[in-house]
C-alpha cells in the first residue's frame, strides 16, 4: 500500500517539470534555435525557491491561498488515477467526480487570487479562465461517461483499466473521439496554444498567465510547479488511453508510461509550433464543437 503510493508520488514530483522542458525544446527545434536546456524548469524552480516575496498592498490572504491550492490539488488528484499500468493508490466508486471537482476547487482559488490584486488585467484572465472551463466541463463528463460505459465500474481505476486494449478493437471510433476530446481539454486547462499562449508579450491576450502576473518568489514557483504537475496528471489520462498496455513487468510499464508522457509533450510542442493562437471569440465555438464531438462518441456507444 505504502510503497506504490511512494513510487506514484516520486514519479509525479520528479518527472513533471521535465514535460514543460521538452515542450520548450521541441518548439525551439522547430524554430531552428538551440533552446533552453531540457532541465531548465528544474533550475527555474530552484531559483524561485531561493527568492523572496513581493506583495501588493491590495492583496489579502486569499492571494496566498491561490498558489497553495494550485499546488496541492494536482498532487491529490494524481492519487486517484493510474499511471500507465500502475494502479491508482487511492480508488473508490465515484472518484471520477472527485477528480473533476478537485480541479474546480483549484480554479476557484486561482481566479479569486487573481481578483485579489485589483488589477484589471488579472480580472480579465479570471473571467476567461472560469468561462472557458464552463464549456470544457461537459466535455470531460461526456468523455468519462463513454469510458464508464465501456468499463465495469465507476472508479477511475476501472475506467482506465485493462479492458482498454480490448476495447480499442471493438469500439475504436468512440475511443478515438474521446482521446481527441481529452487532448483538447488538456490543452485548454493547461493554457497551451491554440487556446492560450503563455509566452506572448501582451497581457491582453493571455488567459492563465495573466492571472499569476503578481505572484513572486516561492509562490510563483508553486504555481509553475503546480501547472507542470497538472499537465502530467491530465496527460496521464491521455497516455493511458492511447497506450493501454499491461506487460506485468514494473520497469517496462514504467517505461511505456514515461515514454508516453514524453511523446505527449513533444506532440504539444509540435502543435504549438505549427498552429497560431485562436482569436478569443473563436475559443468558445471550438469548445462547443468539442462538446459535440464527445456527444457523438456517447451516441456511438449507445447503439
Amino acid at each position: 500500500m505504502l510503497l506504490p503510493l511512494l513510487l506514484h508520488l516520486l514519479l509525479l514530483l520528479f518527472f513533471a517539470p521535465l514535460m514543460p522542458g521538452v515542450i520548450t525544446k521541441t518548439k525551439a527545434w522547430f524554430a531552428g534555435r538551440v533552446g533552453a536546456p531540457l532541465l531548465q524548469p528544474y533550475w527555474d524552480l530552484l531559483r524561485l525557491w531561493k527568492k523572496g516575496f513581493v506583495f501588493s498592498r491590495t492583496t489579502t490572504w486569499v492571494f496566498r491561498a491561490g498558489p497553495v491550492v494550485g499546488l496541492v490539488i494536482p498532487i491529490l488528484a494524481s492519487l486517484l488515477i493510474p499511471f500507465g499500468a500502475m494502479p491508482a493508490p487511492f480508488s473508490f466508486s465515484g472518484d471520477l467526480i472527485l477528480f473533476v471537482y478537485l480541479f474546480g476547487l483549484a480554479r476557484f482559488f486561482t481566479a479569486a487570487a487573481a481578483l485579489d490584486t485589483g488589477s484589471s488585467f488579472e480580472g480579465m484572465g479570471a473571467v476567461r479562465e472560469v468561462t472557458f472551463s464552463c464549456l470544457a466541463e461537459p466535455t470531460v463528463l461526456f468523455a468519462l461517461i463513454v469510458l464508464a460505459r465501456l468499463s465495469d465500474g465507476l472508479a477511475l481505476q476501472n475506467l482506465f483499466g485493462r479492458h482498454l486494449a480490448q476495447a480499442w478493437l471493438t469500439m475504436s471510433a468512440p475511443l478515438g473521439l474521446v482521446v481527441v476530446c481529452l487532448l483538447i481539454v488538456m490543452l485548454v486547462e493547461n493554457s497551451r496554444i491554440p487556446f492560450d499562449d503563455p509566452n506572448t508579450h501582451l497581457e491582453l491576450t493571455m488567459i492563465h498567465e495573466v492571472m499569476v502576473l503578481d505572484h513572486s518568489g516561492p509562490a510563483l514557483g508553486m504555481i509553475l510547479y503546480g501547472s507542470a504537475l497538472k499537465l502530467m496528471v491530465m496527460g496521464a489520462l491521455v497516455v493511458r488511453l492511447t497506450l493501454p498496455f499491461d506487460t506485468g513487468m514494473l520497469w517496462l510499464d514504467l517505461l511505456i508510461f514515461l515514454g508516453g508522457e514524453l511523446l505527449l509533450a513533444i506532440l504539444i510542442g509540435v502543435i504549438e509550433s505549427i498552429m497560431a493562437r485562436l482569436r478569443m471569440p473563436r475559443i468558445p465555438q471550438m469548445l462547443i464543437g468539442t462538446t459535440l464531438l464527445s456527444v457523438f462518441a456517447l451516441v456511438l456507444t449507445l447503439r
Binding site: T58, V69, F108, T117, G118, T131, P218
Partner: protein, 655 residues
Amino acid sequence: MPILWIGIASLLFGLSGVPGLCLRRNGGGGALLSSLMVLAGSISGSFGVIRALQSGSSSAWQSPWSVPGGRLALEIDPLSSVFLLPLFLVFALGALYGHGYWPQRDHPESGRGLRFNYGLLAGSMVLLLVARNGVLFLLGWELMALAGFFLITTEQENSDARRAGFIYLCATHTGTLALFAMFSLLGAETGSLAFPLAGTLATSGTAIFLLALGGFGVKAGIMPLHIWLPGAHAAAPSHASAVLSGIMIKTGIYGLLRVTSFFTEIPPWWGWTVLILGAISGIFGVAFAIAQHDIKRLLAYHSVENIGIIALGVGGALLGRSYHIPQLVLLGLAGALLHVINHGLFKSLLFFSAGALIHATGTREIDQYGGLLRRLPWSGLFFLGGAVAICGLPPFNGFISEWLIYLGLFQTVQGSPLPVSLILLAIPTLAMIGALAVACFVKVFGVTFLGEPRSEQSLHGHEAPKSMLLGMAGLLVSCAWIGLFPTSLAPLLSSAVLSWSSIPTASLSGPLSPLLLVGVCGWVLLSCLALVGFWLWRRSQNAPDPVSTWGCGFSFPSPRMQYTASSFGDFLVRLFRFGLWSERHGGRVEGVFPAAREFSSHTPDTVLDRLLLPSTSGAAWLFQRIRGLVHNGRVGLYLLYVLLAVVVLLTATLP
C-alpha cells in the same frame, strides 16, 4: 412521545412574536423573549425528531375533528425529519442573527411585526411538515404563505418590496389553487382527505401529478414558475430571506415527494418531466444569477439553480422507480434530500453574510463593493465558506450531495437499454451547472471582498456585530461537518428513502459506503492545504513592505479600473443571450479623444418581465373593455341579465 415535542415546537415558534405585540415599540419589543422561545422551540423540536429517528418507527397522533374530510392527524417520519432538522437549526440561528441585523431600537415600527411573522412562518412550516391530512396541510400552507408575504413586505414604504410582495401573493395563491384541486382529486380517489400510506394508491393519477407539480413547483421556484422568487428574496430582511430561500421553498419539494410517495406505480414521463425541468432551472437559474448586479437577487437566482439540482435528483429517483433501478432511487433521492439540507445551510449562510455586507455598506449593489475582506474579515471568511459549499466543491457539504446525485445518475451507465440510458445526459448538465456556479461565485466573492473599494461606503465598511457572526459561524460549522463526516447523515437519508419508496433493503448498504472515503478525502485535502498554507505563511513573514499592484505600464491605476460584476459576467451573459435577453445601453466610444460615456446593462426576468407582465396587462386591458360594455349602469340591461339567468337556470334544471 416525539410528536408531542414537535407540536410544542410548532406552538412555541408560532407564539414567539405574540408577547412582543403587547409590548411598547420603543422598548426592547420582546426581542429577547421571542428569540428564547424560538430557541426553546428548536431544542424541543430537534429532541423530538432525534427521539423519533432513534425509535425507528414513525410517531403519530390522531384526534377526531369537526372539519369534514377525516381526522386531525400528525405524524413524524424520516422524510419529514429531513426537512425539519435544517428548519430548527436555521430558524434558531436566524433569530440570533436578527438581534444584530434588525434591532428593535433601529426599527421600532417593523421589528415586532417581523418577529411575529418570522415565528409564524416557522410554526406553520412545522405544522405542514407533520400534517397527515389535506385540510391541515393546506392550513399550514396558507399560514406559511401569508407569513412569508408579510416578511417580504417588512419594508412596506419601499415600492420594490410592495411589488415583490404582490407578485409573491399572486404566485403563491395560484399554486394554492392548484393544490386545492389536487387534494380534492386525491380525496375523491381515497374517500377521505387523510393522506394515504406510502405506495398504496394504485391509480394512474396524471391530473394529481400535474396539479402537484404546478402547485408545489411555484413554491419551490422551478423554472418557469420561479417568477416571484428573485424579487421576494431581494426585498425581505436578510435573515428572513435566508429562511425563505433556505427553508420555505423546500416545502414545495417536500409536497412533491409526499404526493409521489402515495402511488404504487410511477409512469416514466413523471420522472422525465421533473428531470428536464430540473435541468432548465439549473442552467438558467445560474445564468440569470451571473447577470445580476444585486447581491440578494443573485443569491435568489441561485436558489432556482439549487432547486434544479434537487429536481435532477428527484427526477432520477422517480425514473429509478419507473424502470426498477433501486440504486438510482436510493442515490438520487438521498442526494436530493441531502441537497435540501445542504442548500438550507449554505444558502442561509450566504444570505446572512450578504446581510452583513448590507449592514456594513448600506447597499445591495455588488458594483459598489470591493476590498471588503480587509474590513469584514470574518463575514468574508464565512461568505467564502458558503461560496465553496454552494459550488459543490470539496471538502464542504455541497460536494457530498452533488456527488450522490452524480453517482445515482451514473448507475444507468452500464448495460441499460436506450431510453433509460438517456438519463446520462443529466450528468454533463450537472457538470455545467457546477462550472457556471464556480464562475458566478468567483465573481461575487472577488468583486465584493477582494481588490480595492469601489465606493465611499465600502471604504468605511465595518464588521458585523457578534450575534450576526455567531449565526454565520454556526452555519459554516454545520456545512463543514456534513462535508467532513458525511456518514453521520447516511442512516437518516437511507431511512427517508425507504419511507418514500419501498426498495429492497439489500441495495441500501452498498452504494452509500464510499461516503466514508469521500470524508477521508476531505480531511486529507484540508490537512494538506493547511500544511502547505502554513509553510507559505511562515516563509512570507519576512517579506519586504508591500507595494502597489503592477499597473501593467499604466502609471495611475484607480479602483474604477478593476473588473466589476457586470464586466466579469459579460462574457458568459453574451454566451447565454438566447435565454437572458439582457439590455445594454450606451458604452460605445467614438473618436480619438472620446468624451465621458455611460454604460449600463440590465437583465430583467424573461418569464416575468417579458412574458407574464405584458400578457397580463393585455388581458387586463381586454377585460376592462368588456366590463365597459357589459357593466354600463343601465337598469334595463341589468334586468335583462336577471331574466336571462333565470331562463337559463330553469331550462338547465327542469327535466
